[in-house]
Amino acid sequence: MSSLPDASGTARPAGADGWRRLDIRMLVVHPFRELLRLFPLLLGILVAGSSTGRGGLWGLLGAGIAVTLGVLRWFTTSYRVADERVQVRRGLLRRQLVSVSLDRVRTVDITASPLHRVLGLVRVNVGTGLSDRRREDALRLDGLSAADAYRLRDDVLRRHATPVAAAAAAPDAGTAATGAPAAALAVVAAPAAPEEELAAAPPGWARYGPFTLSGFLTVFFIAGFAWRIVSEAHLDVRRLERLTVGSANLGATPLWLDLIAVPLGVLLVVACASTIGYVLAFWGFRLVRREGGSLQVTRGLISTRATTIEERRLRGVEISEPLLLRLVRGARCIAIATGLRVGRGAERGGSLLLPPAPRAEAVRVAGAVLGTSEPVTAPLLRHGARAHRRRYTRVAIAWVVVTAILVALPRLLPLPPWTWEVSLVLVPVAAALAYDRYRGLGHALTGRFLVTSLGSLVRRRCVLAVDGIIGWNLEESFFQRRAGLATLVATTAAGRQRYAVQDVPLEDALRLADDALPELLAPFLVRGA
């Protein structure tokens, strides 16, 4: 099981006026990280026997400056929680004081890289839900001791638990099982705080890893890293014997064999990378409801992470099923909460409630988080034949555009002239896509939740509490008006900010909006015979 560094140590006493500094051990973090970043450069110097001249020298100089700045940061950064505000002071020449009211704090995110774990440090990010990105970063404290971090979290979320109870991030802290350097940490089995476990990922869920395609990014990243080493060391790739043999073989075998073998190989590598990525990110995943009304997610194999979401900020949940994952009956579950933007990668945003897992489990967790499973399981109202037709027209238009590009391409680029024939193969694919997109379309209003579902490549079922809706946008394009359809968008301060009921008959849209928030629309509605 994974764990963050435990909080067995006692929190340090505060300085004058309650201001606290980062942990002194963070002084080690920065130089080390700079060295790591320079690794390709250093390797290049070692392998090639000489640096790449000026570039290398400037790199080293830059690293030196970065290290110095890191050291200065320890002296200049301090924080405190006082007068219902959380305050961070930083900067040497330009002193900066960021002060945020505790009312505005939405989440507390505690992460630890392997280096942090060795040193018993964590990084704390206090999420305030401000849309300004710079303010968002301003409340990040890199290099707190675990005990200080948990104490800060409890102060900020106004739960004054004892330090030991707060350490419940990982009551089953069997760090040794990871084999990671963190095993060196003394593990203290903290008594479990009153909490309810909503989900825990067994290792078997890693079988959903290959279907997440996150491996594409990983492979890309590794390829980039390798290329940097090669270019820094001035290696001539063509002189590497194995590769030469490989490409020679590629030329010798028939083309059709290459067409099968190469994608298969790439797929295999991506699948492996995706699985590894899944294990690294979601190992030991636990979702618990803590006393006092917050949800807490802990996860990670080498870098660990604990995210706390206040339940009073929760406005709903989203079950998302990317096509590949849907094929193997898997799904993810994401929180819709104010202050948690979904768009920039759900995992990164810390709003993940369940990693790719069996769909039934995602439905169960969504129900447990909402307190009722009805919105997640209730049958949806379909949008009718006109919405169905519109799916086909829209896919057809996209197909025409793609075909036009395929016809034009061989004239501009040296490609074989048969590219346009690919578009014929795309016809059944497009039709299937349109059909599946219609099947995914639906909406419902159950109790105090608005449910909307759409999409095929990524099918999403979003459940949004009616209380969280802060307005309606009714969007009608020219062609939608002709078909008597509209897209009803519920705007909200949480998650994706907008949740659309796509291509619904106008009258159904109005009825839905009126039923959900009865007083808002009524003055503008005209009821006919």
């Binding site: 009312d103 849309s131 104010t338 049958p379 949806l380 109202l381 379909r382 949008h383 009718g384 034949a385 006109r386 639906g442 802060i470 307005g471 309606w472 946008n473 009714l474 969007e475 009608e476 394009s477 020219f478 008006r481 078909a483 008597g484 968008v489 705007t491 909200t492 301060a493 949480a494 994706r496 900010q497 907008r498 619904v504 008959p505 106008l506 009258e507 159904d508 109005l510 009825r511 009126d514 928030l517 007083e519 808002l520 629309l521 003055p523 503008f524 509605l525 005209v526 009821r527 006919g528 015979a529």
Partner: protein, 175 residues
């Protein structure tokens, strides 16, 4: 799952009426001038390209594209401002703000007064000439600002005052 509607459009028994107020009639001229400025830039660029690439044997193509642009510009300038003037409408009650905007694609937006965070007015240089104002009403959602374009300056000021008073009467953090 059940089918909500049959394929045919039924006579609507429930309709959303348009907001009560039109924007200022001067907005028609303003939209025309603004769009014309965009087209002029585009046309000048095309003419410049034509002159610069003289003698490449594609003169016919250049002229054809230029002619097509002129026709598209004329159609756009003739249709868009009038159409838009008929669509753009607004209404503010003590409980909600309701706007309608667009022309080819149209949006209607409704936000309760209790969820409004800010009310701004702004005037561009060109709008100053026409004595017009924009009013933007924002909520806590990044997806939902309500914008009323082309209001008479005095009407806009009155609207902002009304909304400010209405907002003061309701409290909460509007999320």
């Amino acid at each position: 799952m059940t089918d909500a509607r049959a394929g045919r459009a039924q006579p609507a028994s429930l309709q959303l009426r348009p907001p009560r107020h039109l924007v200022s009639p001067r907005a028609v001229l303003y939209w025309t001038v603004r769009a014309a400025m965009g087209w002029v830039v585009f046309l000048v660029a095309q003419v410049a390209f034509l002159v610069a690439s003289q003698g490449d044997g594609l003169l016919g193509w250049h002229v054809a594209v230029l002619a097509a642009t002129v026709v598209a510009a004329a159609a756009h300038l003739a249709v868009m401002p009038q159409w838009r003037y008929r669509v753009h409408r607004w209404e503010a009650t003590p409980h909600a703000v309701y706007t309608q905007a667009g022309w080819f694609s149209q949006q209607r937006r409704i936000a309760p007064i209790s969820r409004i965070q800010t009310v701004d007015t702004e005037r561009g240089a060109l709008e100053q000439l026409f004595r017009l104002s924009n009013v933007t009403v924002t909520t806590a959602s990044a997806a939902g600002p309500l914008r009323i374009h082309g209001l008479d300056r005095d009407v806009a000021q009155g609207l902002v005052d009304d909304l400010s008073h209405a907002i003061e009467a309701t409290r909460g953090d509007a999320t």
